[in-house]
Symmetry: C2
Subunit: 299 residues, 2 copies
């Protein structure tokens, strides 16, 4: 957990940052992937697994599989970033490309799974994945002690469900607040509607939070456990990444910076409180960081 005098002064609060950029694979996703894969039975492990993701889930599954000696196939878009594909391949996974214009990644993965008797590892809508992500909540409760507020990014909702479950059990007095980009506010809308709402268009730089709808399994949990879900603008996300770079010295990707953005903009009022915020990952290419940062920098 990191703390920053500057951040505390800005928020008038005591803020603890759970910095998952330092997690293996560079994001919290390793926790869920490793938990899920380690719970496979011997036969499933021997047959192997398949996941679809060009991002942190793909890298996390590839890394967890390599540590557990499981063969992994990762289905990635032809258009994926070469750096991210290289990271996945670097962990020893078999890469299978698909064309996002004409194919569905879920269907490609399901076909491979059927053909080769592989287990599909879903990115969030899976209780073992949620339980793994929940270790973030267990650790922050252990490390920060009593808390008034816990902020967690919400994409498909696996991290929020896991952290919510852990925090509400260990620190029942703490409010758990989800944070979404305004351009991918499916969980905010779903909470207000009282049922899962699917967005037609998702538009955000936070590539880890581009879920169009909350998960079937994650949503009822988050509906019960989250005290609120707030949204942050794209510019606020970039400003939070720059604050983290300049003041915390931590590289945070857009998805990972949403909770910090909520604190810095006042979208979540933290004055006088003890707050934990999950910085969920740090996987951003330096070139992409420079491109995002340029319009927000002085001069």
């Amino acid at each position: 957990m990191l703390t920053s005098g500057t951040l505390d002064a800005r928020c008038g609060a005591r803020v603890f940052l759970k910095a998952e950029p330092f997690q293996r694979g560079g994001s919290f996703k390793f926790r869920g992937a490793y938990n899920r894969l380690s719970l496979l039975d011997a036969d499933e492990k021997a047959r192997g697994i398949v996941a679809y993701s060009s991002g942190n889930h793909g890298a996390a599954v590839a890394l967890a599989a390599s540590l557990l000696g499981i063969h992994a196939v990762v289905v990635v878009p032809q258009t994926g970033s070469p750096a991210k594909l290289a990271a996945i391949a670097g962990y020893g996974a078999e890469i299978r490309r698909y064309d996002p214009a004409t194919e569905s990644r879920e269907e490609v993965a399901a076909a491979i799974a059927a053909e080769r008797s592989l287990t599909v590892i879903r990115p969030f809508d899976d209780y073992d994945i949620m339980a793994g992500q929940g270790t973030v909540g267990v650790e922050l409760a252990e490390q920060a002690g009593e808390l008034d507020l816990v902020l967690v990014p919400v994409g498909g909702g696996g991290l929020a469900a896991g952290v919510g479950t852990a925090v509400k059990s260990l620190l029942p007095g703490a409010a758990v607040i989800g944070v979404e980009p305004a351009g991918a506010d499916d969980t905010s809308r779903s909470m207000r509607a009282g049922h899962r709402v699917r967005l037609d268009v998702v538009d955000t730089i936070a590539d880890g939070l581009r879920a169009q709808a909350p998960g079937e399994l994650t949503f009822p949990i988050n509906q019960r456990l989250l005290d609120d879900v707030v949204t942050v603008a794209e510019a606020a996300i970039v400003d939070a990444m720059l604050f983290s770079f300049a003041r915390l010295k931590v590289v945070v990707e857009p998805s990972g910076a949403t909770t910090l953005a909520a604190l810095l903009t006042g979208a979540v009022r933290a004055h006088g409180q003890r707050v934990a915020a999950v910085l969920s990952g740090g996987n951003i290419d330096p070139a992409d960081f420079a491109l995002l940062a340029a319009p927000r920098l002085p001069g």
Copy 2:
């Protein structure tokens, strides 16, 4: 201390990184400044101090002085980066500008000190400063256990002298290697010559290591304690900053990346060894990072 599987694989070694970007003020300089100021007597504390530096030493002295309730004057060049001057002023120090084309910062500071009976806090050539920086060595010895090699950046030599003293006392079997930019290799040349050599020109992006000559007090210590001093090229420093960004998720300034550059380029052969490397600071503006990184990035 941070570790990285990717870094270990690249070097064929077990590498522990002492990450001073996370130190208060963003660099190791706080350690020496705080030690020096806390050892002032009550009278000296009441009169105040003066330091000359637009960089990490200035910020560290300003921060330490504010924590100890001491009035600080920091002499900075008119041409200094606005962000760095803002950081120094933000810690409550009185800023005094000078014109580097026509004035010497040492003389400006000496004149202010004489006029107002202030104590001059030198950046490295001071035993209390060296002792403070030496706590980096104490901590890395405690945290990493037995080590074969310790890598430390060398500018004026205060950090190297402090770390060398601590490491040679706590881990007598470890070799301590200084690392300089090739464009500011005053200590390498001085070690070979057997006496302090002054460079006419210093040319490096590593602004914390632009000393033209080793310190009068630091050099004899480093001459005795350092097993070697190696140099790294500018491009290797930028590549190490990018490696740190992309793989370690730590923002490292050019001076702070020199030890990592020495490992990644093989300037220091670490194969099969247990190695600690000091990443000495992380104070670089995002805009400057983007400018330095651009020519080294693919595409």
